[in-house]
Symmetry: C2
Subunit: 460 residues, 2 copies
């Protein structure tokens, strides 16, 4: 029996314990975006430090001005150096009344697609990061070591703009630098087909508040001559798209590449079922730019979205108020060589030039990040793909991703290394939504997958 076979057997035998450990982590309410959960974020970090130490990692909690980082080092004395990244913070749980069970009371639910782990963070990203820890645990248990030099970085601010990340990477570059990074925050192509994400959209995020009158007014007394900031805001946001779904911001499409015929052919071969993808969430028609397939709209086209809007009276009944303020949270998803800073500046300039008399705007910016394209010809990508193909029913594929994983750009810029993005989430995991889940198969075969990938990369 090879080392790897013994490790895989150990993983299978230890499954229930692995699930129990994940449940412990899922019970910690580590919502990073809401300051009320600061202590919970720290508790999650401490839990991870203790768990890493229990399997022989030299692990520590590293405090930051925000939520702490967790860093661990372990494994072989020499050989390939890997840095694994995940995040222990989770999204808020509102609207809470749409959850069928308590978001921080994890449970196994039987579903038509098999058993799932149900909890906030089950898929994004606690379940995913634990697949890697469990793979390491098994390697250590069976062989006493790891097949490569492994460092681990867990962040607690991924869902809240990662304000501490760049300073931390910069200050600890020598400690964290490796040959390649492994990032587990993405998904499978489908339940039988593992995927390595090689194109990621970037992001620009802004919160804007438009102020008109100096106080809330009565629409009977002032309706007509008083400027209504909700009206101003809806006009500004509505004008961000033309009737074909294109974003109207000047210069927005600078740096957006046309898809090569080769990539188009590869994506066509995936037989993406847009009807099923949209149908699962109650939709039937791709609503993005005209002339692009749903898959292209997600992976290869940039977007502008309003993620939240609020102003005036929003309680029960009616209140004929003309509010003083109206606000929105918006994000752009970027592709190719779009420049996040230029787009942020263009958006602010557009909004400011669109303000009528007596209105002003205030801004809160989210960290922005460019899109990323991986060098898929590097050997690590083929080795990882083959290792995944050994584990799952179908061979692994290289795919795009509509999401933004800013860490990948930071690793390249600050630590000079590329990232192999492997994850076991499924499209219906409902991350960021009520009833988030992680397939039990994703978890168990995810652990086995990392055991294989560690073995494979030791030969890179």
């Amino acid at each position: 029996m090879s080392h790897l076979d013994a490790v895989l057997a150990h993983i299978d035998a230890d499954r229930d314990n692995a699930v129990a450990r994940l449940f412990d982590l899922l019970r910690i309410e580590s919502i990073s975006t809401d300051p009320a959960y600061k202590d919970a974020c720290r508790a999650a970090a401490d839990w991870l430090v203790d768990d890493l130490a229990s399997i022989g990692f030299e692990a520590s909690r590293r405090d930051t001005p925000g939520h702490p980082m967790v860093v661990g080092h372990g494994g072989a004395e020499d050989g390939k150096a890997l840095l694994f990244y995940g995040h222990y913070d989770v999204q808020p749980v509102d609207p809470l009344d749409l959850w069928d069970s308590a978001p921080f009371d994890p449970r196994i639910d039987e579903t038509p697609d098999g058993p799932v782990i149900r909890a906030r963070g089950a898929s994004d990203d606690k379940g995913q990061l634990m697949t890697f820890i469990e793979a390491c645990r098994a390697w250590k248990a069976v062989t006493g070591s790891l097949p490569a030099r492994v460092s681990i970085l867990f962040e607690g601010e991924e869902e809240s703009g990662s304000p501490s990340l760049v300073p931390f990477l910069t200050d600890n570059a020598d400690e964290l630098k490796a040959d390649i990074a492994l990032v587990c925050d993405t998904g499978m192509w489908d339940k039988d087909t593992p995927a390595i994400s090689t194109m990621l959209r970037g992001m620009v995020g802004e919160e804007l508040t438009i102020t008109g009158p100096s106080k809330d007014l009565h629409s009977g007394m002032f309706g007509g001559p008083a400027r209504n900031p909700i009206r101003v805001l809806t006009r500004i946001l509505a004008d961000m798209h033309d009737e074909t779904g294109r974003v109207t911001l000047p210069g927005f499409y600078d740096g957006v590449p046309d898809l090569s015929d080769e990539i188009k052919a590869q994506w066509d071969s995936l037989d993406f079922d847009a009807d099923a993808f949209l149908g699962a969430v109650g939709l039937s028609v791709p609503a993005g730019e005209e002339g692009y397939s749903a898959l292209e709209q997600i992976w290869a086209r940039p977007t502008f979205e309003v993620n939240g809007i609020w102003g005036g009276y929003t309680g029960a009944g009616f209140k004929t108020v003309l509010p003083s303020e109206a606000s929105a949270k918006v994000t752009f998803r970027l592709v190719g060589d779009q420049d996040p800073n230029a787009i942020q500046a263009a958006f602010k300039s557009y909004v400011e030039s669109a303000l009528p008399a007596d209105c002003s705007v205030a801004w809160k910016s989210k960290d922005c990040s460019p899109a990323t394209t991986m060098p898929v010809d590097a050997p690590e990508f083929a080795l990882a793909r083959d290792a995944l193909s050994d584990e799952w029913p179908n061979p692994a594929v290289f795919v795009g991703s509509g999401g933004s994983i800013p860490i990948v750009g930071h690793f390249r810029r600050i630590l000079g290394m590329d990232s192999v993005l492997i994850g076991f989430g499924l499209d219906d995991d409902q991350i960021h939504s009520p009833n988030e889940k992680y397939s039990l198969t994703s978890f168990t075969k995810g652990i086995r997958s990392w055991a294989r990938v560690l073995d494979a990369l030791s030969r890179a």
Copy 2:
């Protein structure tokens, strides 16, 4: 000394007691729009019943499916029959943190413009309705009776669409019918010039919720092909006005009259200071339809306003959600012969026809009411105007009003009587806003004004 002079002297001597009684009423948190305050609304009704009974009215609380009515009868055995109307319910107090003192802990604040009564409801409408009760109290104390037959109707749902009002008026028409109604829910022209409002805008109110995806989605996974209902809503609302500020709804201006030269001349003579009116709330430019003065925009032109909007993530930080729903509360203010039902239907039709694929809309309607124009040639109007002119530094004026007082239309339609709209609010009373106040002068001279008006109308 005439009866009236003795009554006025009694009012002056009793001022502190009158303020104390108003404070008792202001302490009751009778927010009608929020079900949590149901008991408080009933307590306010009971307080009024007791107070009316204490001055010899045959008074009772009349329960309804919503908040109760208060009805009282008193005064002369024959002569002119008057029905006084006011409302004891108040607006919600949010945003609470913008109040300088507790909204339900009334106090006298000294201001550069003199002392004011500070509390939610001080002006709208508890302070106003108490001016009439105190005038009756003084007449009773001095003469043992009232100079006319007086009935009183207090409502507790004025700020929440008055759902029980029409059924109650219909069921009790014989009891409530009078020669003319007196309504105290309007304002002075300025602090020295009393006003009788003879034109009122009507109202249509709708809450709409647009649904796109069946659940909240992650904008990384779905951004592009997924329909964002906030985007749909902002487009629909933005398209309700053209670039000149006109409402674009088909047929919206049917029944909107041009102002007669006579009314224009009368309004011009008022020397309305638009700069001061807007400047007091941080504005400088009338934002309504081009080609109309600010006063015309308030009194003579219809409007469409968004009073509240919400959707997606509105908490601290960012959440890259594509929400399932987005909602808005909107109101139209109507003038002339605009048909509220036709406008409601046109708005619903417009929204439904503007929905893209995969979206639906749900509605909650507020009671609608047409605009009203009073028969100012009837003798009661001249008598009331002269009585007010006797009390205040400047003669009383007939004015328009941007607000909607649906009761006036109901009184005409159900009880066959017109209304004399007299009130002592000032433009800066901040009704419906934090720090609502009522000038102490409005209160004390308001009481004296009603004492005079009662006397005058007994001669109609």
